[in-house]
Subunit: 153 residues, 2 copies
DNA sequence: ATCGGTGCAAACCATTTGCACGTTA
DNA sequence: TAACGTGCAAATGGTTTGCACCGAT
């Protein structure tokens, strides 16, 4: 199974899930899902809106927010914690658990197929009577492109 | 050296650093530092303002923001990435490197004297030509108190 | 035809900024 | 007294909400 095939299948899964749960199909909703699939990395709302407006000039940010909320509630999209203030980033779930490298300059993030969560951390949480829901792990710094700009300026 | 002594000494270090760098001492600035020291855990700006207004009823949020910025620039305070939207949290640096347990309900966070950052992650970043500045690791879930409320409601 | 979804505009909220005044060094 | 720091008020920017209309089922 190629990466494209996997992604395509996932798109179908999402659409199927929406149907099952009684959500309607609208071009906008389809486009939001499509944007996340095509990007294959976390996108900020602004990035999504910019991309989407190429095909749907009237696409409004609220619609993107509302659809992201629906997709998060369905568990097919995850909110990546926001480093800096460029707003939140979202990515499609369903791939193996992983984390991110986040650029502090441009905000772009790339996937890091690695997870540092370990038994030791779980146990420390337990000791605090803390009911663990999940965790975040992000490495931040300058991405390739922003290092270039740094040094050339 | 007790924990109190260490903290006290750190307070002096901070004040000394401010003097060296040419910053002025104001009651507000002193109070912001004091609040972080007393809390000994990450505080949100709102929490700080609430505490500070007990002694300085006129304390304004902008002053807190401005002082936090100064302290961050000096490297004595760190911004903890914000889980959810209750605003950012800040904590005094200088203690051993650690991470946090963050409650998704009340936003409170407690320190986790553990760091999962490992050579493997560093290397993956290097492979991406990513210039690492730092990292975040947070475990989120329900704290003791909020579990109680969950079950009793 | 019904009800969910959309765009628009306004509301919100954390954070930042401009400005005139007060305070520290 | 010369900056710097402060409070206030207004601006900013991401996100949410109210509302009337439109389109999917």
């Amino acid at each position: 199974m190629t990466s494209d095939e996997r992604i395509q299948r996932q798109a179908e899964d999402v659409l199927e899930l929406l149907k099952v749960k009684g959500y309607k199909f609208t071009p906008q909703r389809r486009a939001v899902i499509g944007a996340l699939i095509e990007a294959n990395r976390p996108l900020s709302v602004k990035e999504m809106v910019d991309r989407l407006r190429e095909s749907y000039p009237d696409m409004s940010a609220d619609t993107v927010y509302r659809n992201l909320k629906v997709l998060c509630d369905l568990g097919v999209v995850s909110l990546i914690s926001q480093q800096g203030k460029e707003g939140a980033r979202y990515e499609l779930d369903g791939r193996p658990h992983h984390h991110h490298l986040v650029c502090v300059t441009c905000g772009k993030s790339v996937c890091l197929p690695y997870c540092p969560m370990q038994e030791r951390a779980e146990e420390m949480a337990r000791r605090e009577d803390f009911h663990v829901l999940g965790h975040t792990f992000e490495i931040f710094g300058y991405c390739r492109d922003c290092q270039r700009e740094e040094s050339s300026s």
